[in-house]
Amino acid sequence: MDKQGNTYTVLYAVVMVVIVAAVLAFVSESLKGIQNKNVEVAKKIDLLKSVGIISDATTAEELYDKHIGENTKVINMSGNEVEGNAFTIDMSKELRKEPKDRNYPLYICKLANGEEKIIIPLRGVGLWGPIWGYISLNEDKNTVFGAIFDHKGETPGLGAEISKEFFQTPFQGKTIFDESGSFTSIAVVKGVDTSSNEHAVDAISGGTITSNGVTDMLKECLSGYEKYLKN
C-alpha cells in the first residue's frame, strides 16, 4: 500500500485514534476508584484539619468516622433541614444556583473533650482559579474555632500562601456576627491593625486578588447559614 496515499493516511489516523482512546478509557476507568477515594480522603483530612485534628491518608477515615461520621446536615437558606447527603454536595454547583435554591451542607464535629463544632464548607474564586476551605465555629455559632483554605493554582509564595498556617491561624477567635447580632463575616484586609478587630484578619501582601477572593468567599458562603446560626 502507498504509505503516502490518502487511504493509508486516513486509515492510519483512525486506527491510531481508536487505539489511543481505548487505552486512555481503560486506564481512566480502572483508576477512577482510587482517584475518587483520594479526593474523598483529602476532603476528610481538610474537614478534620479545620477543627485542629491533624490526620493523614491512613488515619483520616477512622478519625472522620469517630468525630463526624453521620453527624451532617443539609439546610436551606431559611435554616430548615432538608434531605440530602452533606458530604457529596458539590459547593461549586450549589453556588451557581440562586441563594434561596441552594443546599447548604454542614458538619458537626464532636471533639475528644466533648465540645461540638460546626464546620461550614467554603468555595470561591481566587486569581487563577477556585479557592475553597472549611471554617469551624464554636457552640455559640459565632466565634471561629479554626479555618483552613486551599486553592487550585494561586501564585506560589503569594496567593498560594492562603493554605499556610500563618494566614489561617489569625481567623481563630474572630466572630462572624457583631454585638447587635447582624452578620458581618470576616474580611481579609491590608494596612490596618487587625489584632483588635473582631471581624478582620491580615491579607497577604502581593496576593491582593486572592485575599479579596477569601473575603468574598466567606461573605457569600456564610451568609447562607445566617438563619441557621442565629437559631
Binding site: 504509505k3 503516502q4 493509508y8 493516511t9 492510519y12 489516523a13 491510531m16 485514534v17 489511543v20 487505552v23 486512555l24 486506564v27 481512566s28 483508576l31 482510587i34 482517584q35 483520594n38 479526593v39 483529602a42 491518608a57 487550585k152 493554582g153 501564585t155 506560589p156 509564595g157 503569594l158 502581593g206
Partner: protein, 218 residues
C-alpha cells in the same frame, strides 16, 4: 549501524551526556523555557515535573521510533501529538491515583507537558530517524538535561525566595536558620516571581558559556 553495537557504546553514551552539557535543551537550544518558569518556585514540583517529562519523553521517543517507518509524512506531527498527549494524560491519571498530593501541587503543569517544545523537538529531530534504543537514550539524556536545569533553578529560587527547600517525601525544610532573619536578613520575594526564573536561567547560560568557550555563538 550494525546489530552488534554494544548497548552503551561510546556513541550511545554521548546521546545521554551531550544534552546534559553541550546540547542542553534549555541553556543551549533554549527550549522548554515556559515550564522552567512555571514550576520552579519550589523544589518538589520541579523534581516531579522532571520525572514526568522523562517518562513522557522516553516513551514518546520509543513509540515514535517504533512507528517511524509506518507514519505517513503528511500527518506525522499529528501522530506525534496524539502519542505525547496520550502519555501526558496517563501520567496525570497515575499521579492523581498514586501521588495525589503532588498532583494537586502540579495541577495544570502536568497537562502542559504536551506543549513542552523539547518533546516535540526530540520526536521530530531524533525519534523519526533513529532506532528505539537510541531514541530511548536520547529521551533520557534530554529529559535529564532539562531536569538538571529545572532543579538548579528551583533550588536557588526556593532557597533565596522562601529560605526553605521542599523535597519529595521530606516536606518543607527550613534551610536558612531563624537567627539569620533575626540579624535582619529578608527573603527575596522577587525570586518567587517568574521573571527571576528567566534571570536565573540567564545566569546559568552565562556561567556555562564562560566555562566552555566553544558554546559561545559567533
Amino acid at each position: 549501524m550494525s546489530d552488534k553495537e554494544p548497548l552503551f557504546s561510546a556513541k550511545n553514551r554521548k546521546l545521554i551526556s551531550n544534552p546534559l552539557n553541550a546540547q542542553n535543551p534549555i541553556t543551549i537550544q533554549v527550549l522548554g523555557i515556559c515550564s522552567a518558569l512555571a514550576v520552579t518556585a519550589k523544589l518538589e514540583p520541579a523534581i516531579v515535573m522532571s520525572i514526568s517529562v522523562m517518562f513522557v519523553l522516553v516513551f514518546a521517543n520509543v513509540i515514535i521510533s517504533l512507528l517511524r517507518n509506518t507514519i505517513p509524512a503528511r500527518i506525522r506531527i499529528i501522530v506525534q501529538l496524539v502519542v505525547v498527549a496520550a502519555l501526558v494524560i496517563l501520567v496525570d491519571q497515575i499521579l492523581k491515583a498514586f501521588a495525589y498530593e503532588v498532583s494537586k501541587q502540579l495541577s495544570v503543569f502536568v497537562g502542559l507537558i504536551i506543549t513542552n517544545c523539547i518533546i516535540m523537538g526530540r520526536l521530530e529531530a531524533f525519534a523519526l530517524g533513529n532506532r528505539p534504543w537510541q531514541s530511548a537514550l536520547d529521551g533520557v539524556g534530554n529529559a535529564a538535561g532539562y531536569g538538571v536545569i529545572l532543579i538548579i533553578v528551583a533550588f536557588f529560587r526556593e532557597l533565596l525566595g522562601s529560605g526553605t527547600l521542599t523535597l519529595p517525601g521530606l516536606g518543607t525544610l527550613q534551610i536558612i536558620p531563624q537567627i539569620v532573619y533575626d540579624w535582619g536578613y529578608v527573603n527575596n520575594g522577587f525570586m518567587i516571581l517568574p521573571p527571576m526564573a528567566l534571570i536565573t536561567v540567564g545566569i546559568i547560560i552565562w556561567v556555562q558559556r564562560s566555562r566552555n568557550k566553544d558554546l559561545i555563538e559567533s
